[in-house]
């Protein structure tokens, strides 16, 4: 897989030697503030890869962004967040994609690689993701719901949230790769990079603050959920997002079962707003019509106008 990276990989590997000394826990607070942001400017902002070999597509997507070395320095401790919603087809990140990302991180010289999850071993077993974790010899950290496992992260200027409750474990790593599957959501219509971050926030906090009391389902309650998602995304910023848009449900999300469509795409990038706008279009939705994307754009978390984003599309 490493042989596919070519010249850009070589350049970024060389460059990372000079910047690795300044890397550390600050990476978790935002890629845009990291010195790595200056690397690989010739790469795409978003890579959209179409094909049927999901591992090769994942590797190609990262290659087009400038190579894994742009994101994962040698000796980095890397944490991954795939979506393990359920074992229903089209609702969880494909094992092949997780495996490809793990292999890339290993090739980049990562010191430690782990997956984090607030869900159960049963979820991981059912999706086949546990097998990948085991075979690749990385760590799966299942976080139980005790309050002590989460830290309060203030959200300055939140529309509705004043704080998040993020798993402590996240802060034991140097960088975080967000790995959602994009799909329908019967509540707010769309799941992408930003909604996946609810997988780092305490489930009790999600339930008590993101969802209105008594399960209210009026549009105001759904808008509230979307605003919470945008707020949460100001508290945690992934270093890299790799989105599974290979086989996904377009109805009855997020858990399904629902109508399965096969866009056969892997999408990667740093800008969550631009990526989610791209993914929304796959589901026939417009970013500006989705509150979570619109609010995140207003919070300057990314670009909603895709004409201003360098998107590179490749078939493998």
């Amino acid at each position: 897989m490493a042989s596919k990276f070519g010249r850009r990989e070589f350049i970024s590997k060389s460059a990372k030697i000079s910047v690795s000394a300044v890397l550390g826990k600050h990476l978790i607070s935002g890629f845009a503030d990291s010195p790595l942001a200056a690397l690989a400017k010739d790469g795409a902002d978003i890579a959209v890869i179409t094909g049927t070999d999901y591992a090769a597509m994942t590797a190609k997507a990262v290659e087009l962004l400038g190579g894994i070395g742009r994101f994962v320095p040698k000796n980095a401790r890397v944490v991954l967040l795939p979506n393990v919603q359920s074992k229903n087809p089209g609702t969880f990140t494909k094992p092949e994609i997780l495996r490809a990302v793990i292999k890339m991180c290993k090739n980049a010289g990562a010191k430690e690689i782990a997956c984090l999850s607030l869900l159960t071993q049963q979820h991981w077993d059912g999706t086949g993701l546990a097998q990948v974790v085991q075979e690749e010899g990385i760590v799966l950290k299942l976080i139980s719901s005790e309050a002590a496992n989460f830290r309060t992260v203030p959200i300055a200027g939140g529309s509705v949230l004043t704080e998040a409750k993020i798993t402590n474990e996240l802060y034991n790593y140097d960088l975080f790769i967000n790995m959602p599957i994009t799909k329908d959501h019967a509540g707010n219509k769309f799941t992408g990079t930003m909604k996946n971050l609810m997988g780092l926030n305490s489930r009790d906090h999600n339930r008590a603050n993101f969802h209105k009391p008594n399960w209210t389902t009026d549009p105001a309650a759904i808008e509230h959920l979307d605003k919470c998602i945008a707020d949460l995304n100001t508290a945690v910023k992934p270093t890299l997002n790799i989105v599974d848009a290979t086989e996904i449900i377009r109805t009855n999300g997020p858990m399904g079962p629902g109508e399965l469509i096969k866009p056969l795409k892997v999408i990667a990038g740093v800008d969550r707003v631009a990526i989610d706008t791209t993914c929304a279009s796959i589901l026939g939705l417009k970013g500006e019509e989705l509150t979570q994307i619109k609010k995140a754009y207003e919070k300057k978390l990314g670009e909603i106008d895709l004409t201003k984003v360098k998107i590179q599309e490749v078939k493998v």
Partner: protein
């Protein structure tokens, strides 16, 4: 064995009597359902019925808001239709292929039908299981009485679909409950009866999954339906009485006239107007007795 049968029968009878007592006292399908009434364990098929399929592990059971623990981050739509409880059982065959069976107890038969209609797509195949059943690629939904049953297979292969049908029929045989479709379905105009998909609605979340007219709950209907045919959709929103429907129609008419999202409002009759949305779709809105009806014709059809 006899003792076991007796115990099973007693549990079943208790469950049934509790269910019928609950039906007796039941309010109209609402947003706040009463607590679970049925022992759902009794409806799970067991090995002798299944020819090659075996339960795998213990069943999971979730009640009320705990549904969020099962459907992480997306249980709201079940709540809108009146969710009470769900039991989930995995089954496996000799090749370790698995099928998951979910039995949802909803507020009443209307709610079960509603959730069935929401979850079923237009492309499936109908089967004579329960009151209605629909098999799609790798999953089947059917409803019977106040229960919605969903079976999810491992893929869309013939083997998987056979397993799903076998389990579905075994579950159906254990459910002696009955129910009828909501009466609203019967007022669907004849020309819409062959719609590819009919969705019974209990609230705005279900509606917004089909079409968003306004970013707030303008219609505030008691119950509704959407019938999709070619590129047109008929929406019927029903109210408690004709007065309430008329008052709501008046609000709807004002909202369309004021909204920048709609253009060219044109009154056809006193209780009938037409408008065009930002995408060029034509909407005809009518007050008919205790209902408001909207026929939405997509712009793609109009351009042809």
């Amino acid at each position: 064995m006899k003792g076991r049968l007796f115990l099973g029968g007693a549990i079943f009878a208790l469950g049934l009597s509790a269910y019928f007592a609950a039906e007796e006292a039941q309010k109209p399908a609402g947003i706040v359902p009463s607590p679970p009434q049925l022992n759902l364990l009794q409806f799970l098929p067991t090995a002798p019925d299944l020819r090659g399929w075996q339960p795998k592990g213990p069943p999971q059971h979730y009640k009320g808001e705990d549904l969020f623990l099962y459907i992480d981050g997306g249980a709201e739509i079940y709540r809108e239709y009146g969710f009470k409880q769900v039991i989930v059982q995995d089954y496996r065959d000799a090749n370790d292929r698995s099928i998951t069976l979910e039995i949802f107890e909803m507020a009443n038969a209307e709610s079960a039908y509603g959730m069935f209609s929401f979850k079923s797509g237009a492309k499936g195949i109908s089967y004579s299981i329960g009151h209605d059943a629909r098999l799609e690629d790798y999953y089947l939904n059917f409803w019977k009485g106040p229960l919605l049953i969903t079976l999810i297979g491992f893929d869309a292969s013939a083997e998987c679909r056979e397993g799903i049908l076998r389990l579905a029929r075994a579950a159906e045989a254990r459910i002696p409950l009955t129910g009828t479709r909501p009466s609203l379905i019967s007022i669907l105009p004849k020309e819409w009866a062959d719609s590819a998909r009919i969705i019974y609605l209990k609230g705005v979340l279900g509606l917004n999954n089909i079409h968003v007219f306004f970013p707030y709950d303008l219609f505030r209907f008691k119950e509704g339906l959407a019938a999709e045919r070619n590129s047109s959709t008929l929406f019927i929103f029903r109210y408690a009485n004709t007065e309430e429907a008329a008052a709501r129609f008046s609000e709807v008419k004002k909202a369309f006239a004021k909204s920048p999202s709609y253009k060219n409002p044109k009154s056809l009759k006193a209780n009938d107007f037409e408008s065009t949305d930002a995408k060029g779709n034509i909407l005809r809105v009518e007050l008919q007795g205790d209902s408001i009806r909207i026929t939405l014709t997509k712009s793609t059809v109009l351009k042809k």
